[in-house]
């Protein structure tokens, strides 16, 4: 059915700058990386035009980095959730309305300071003159904390806690307190109330928080580099090394393409599974 199309010039005009930015800075780079990933490493490093699947076939050479990321990212997310949930619950349900806003702002403030400087503080705290010195003083000698997977996880929880607290707080805040009272009146134990009322109602917040943290962790590079002493190796670190050390751009591109593909698949699946309520996705991103 042929229908005369009316062009909405205002919309086209106002949308074109953002569309142009997407094209130039997102689509073009993705195309370039895709093209590179089918190429070959030039003799002296860099890229040489070719069409080969060799780079993708070589992916198992970075299996360790993928394995580390795919295990540490969910672990970090879950730890963040475990640390954040009680705090969000406290803020939303238990804290007095007067102190609530202040306490909430206090959660965000560290997030607004320089990430590098916060992480640097942990280098000092976990390093020889920090907690280990303190433990040594009370009689527990020779504790090593810095440059361990523990330090990396701690850095992750510290850095991303606010991102988890906030959405959970928002969803718990919307929760009608009378539901909790009703549940108690009906003789439900606090645990049963929590499991049957609070938890399901806070699920959207939990889902959003987990997704935000998970996305950031999949591409994490700085925290393992600073707190892991170069020994804890994520895909992000493998990527940086492939571009800046081995100068194997085609292989680096193949790793980047795979990382983005893995993220697109997991996150889309995750969204489908958890957030199938209409219009929820928009809110979830905020």
């Amino acid at each position: 059915m042929a229908r005369a199309r009316k062009w909405d010039w205002t919309a086209i005009l106002l949308m074109s700058p953002s569309f142009a930015i997407f094209l130039a800075l997102l689509v073009l780079p993705i195309i370039v990386v895709l093209v590179l990933s089918f190429g070959e490493r030039a003799e002296a490093g860099g890229y040489e035009a070719a069409f080969t699947l060799a780079q993708y076939a070589n992916l198992p050479a970075r299996w360790a980095a993928f394995r580390n990321t795919l295990s540490l990212a969910p672990t970090g997310t879950i730890l963040c959730l475990l640390a954040a949930y009680p705090l969000a619950y406290f803020l939303a349900v238990k804290a007095s309305p007067r102190s609530k806003l202040l306490l909430l702002i206090l959660v965000i403030v560290p997030f607004w300071t320089s990430f590098l400087i916060r992480t640097y503080a942990w280098i000092f705290i976990l390093g020889g003159k920090g907690i280990p010195a303190l433990l040594d003083w009370v009689g527990i000698p020779d504790v090593r904390l810095i440059n361990t997977p523990f330090a990396v996880l701690l850095g992750i929880v510290y850095a991303y806690l606010p991102l988890m607290v906030f959405p959970i707080f928002v969803s718990l805040e919307k929760l009608d307190k009378r539901l909790l009272e009703a549940s108690e009146d009906l003789g439900a134990s606090p645990w049963a109330t929590f499991r049957q009322v609070t938890l399901p109602l806070s699920a959207p917040g939990v889902a959003t928080g987990c997704m935000l943290v998970f996305i950031l962790l999949m591409g994490e590079y700085l925290i393992p580099a600073l707190l892991g002493g170069g020994k804890v190796f994520f895909i992000g670190n493998a990527l940086v090394d492939l571009f800046l050390q081995s100068r194997n751009w085609p292989f680096g591109s193949a790793v980047a393409v795979s990382l983005v593909a893995i993220m697109l698949v997991t996150v889309t699946l995750y969204l489908r599974l958890t957030l199938n309520r209409r219009g929820f996705r928009d809110q979830s991103m905020v």
Binding site: L14, K94, L116
Partner: protein
């Protein structure tokens, strides 16, 4: 529960307190405290490199978040009028822009821009009327950094403003239309005040994102030194309390900005309630 919350706050604030404490140390090393002094604030304030890095960072953060806010808001407002394939494409791009890790953005933007420079620069040279030595040549620097930062910031703002628009009361717009207000008048008097807090929040978020970014900047900033790049280099070198002084100053400034923005947001919300 209360105790747990208290512990979390201790966890959140101990590192910041330590940074602040050592910024007042009189010693040369950032790991031993040697008496109270303000000398590192003076050192930092007089350090040309710090000042320059700060100015560079502010310039990039302001420009990129202003561009992102302008284009992102325009797109978010027009988005409901776009249907079909174009809409799916645009939503998909926004989604991908938010999700792609910074490290991938940094590397791929670097390669794409440099590839583009290699095509464009010889053209400029070929068509340059004057002395070839004076012909402008594209390279990495503020421009590339601002572009790379605007991408993520713009996607963020599109999402935030759109969420705000969706939460908006449609009946107000309909009422305005019924009263024969033209679309621009409706936008100016009804829509804009309602989404303003979202726009401001988006601007502020992109501003801090840009101000704090090391990963993308380390790839596309060329020879430019931003504050995070300076801080990273200092951490590598072994640190004097100068870094602590910078960190504490940044903390205080962000606190002021945060309180200021809360104030603005609340004022912005008033007409809506």
């Amino acid at each position: 529960m209360r105790l747990y919350a208290f512990c979390i706050y201790i966890f959140l604030y101990t590192p910041l307190a330590i940074i602040a404490l050592f910024s007042f140390s009189a010693g040369r090393s950032a790991s031993d405290f040697h008496g109270f002094s303000l000398q590192w604030y003076e050192t930092a304030a007089n350090n040309r490199l710090v000042k320059e890095a700060l100015m560079n960072s502010l310039l990039v953060a302001f420009t990129s978040s202003a561009l992102a806010t302008l284009f992102g808001t325009a797109a978010a407002i027009m988005l409901p009028r776009v249907k079909g394939v174009a809409r799916i494409l645009f939503d998909g791009l926004t989604y991908v822009a938010i999700m792609v890790p910074g490290i991938v953005i940094g590397i791929s933007t670097l390669i794409a821009l440099v590839t583009a420079f290699n095509v464009i620069n010889p053209q400029i040279l070929a068509f340059w009327p004057g002395d070839p030595a004076t012909a402008p040549q594209l390279g990495l620097g503020f421009g590339s950094l601002i572009c790379a930062h605007s991408l993520f910031a713009m996607a963020l703002i599109i999402v935030i403003v759109r969420a705000r628009l969706m939460g908006m009361d449609r009946s107000l717009i309909e009422a305005s239309m019924d009263l024969y207000a033209d679309p621009w008048g409706t936008f100016r008097q009804i829509t804009f005040p309602q989404i303003l807090p979202g726009i401001l929040a988006g601007f502020l978020l992109s501003f801090t994102f840009s101000l704090d970014d090391y990963v993308i900047a380390s790839f596309v900033a060329g020879s430019r030194v931003t504050l995070p790049i300076y801080v990273f280099a200092s951490i590598r070198r072994g640190v004097t309390p100068e870094i602590n002084a910078i960190g504490t100053a940044v903390l205080v400034v962000s606190l002021i900005m945060l309180i200021g923005s809360q104030f603005l947001l609340r004022r912005g919300q008033k007409p809506a309630t």
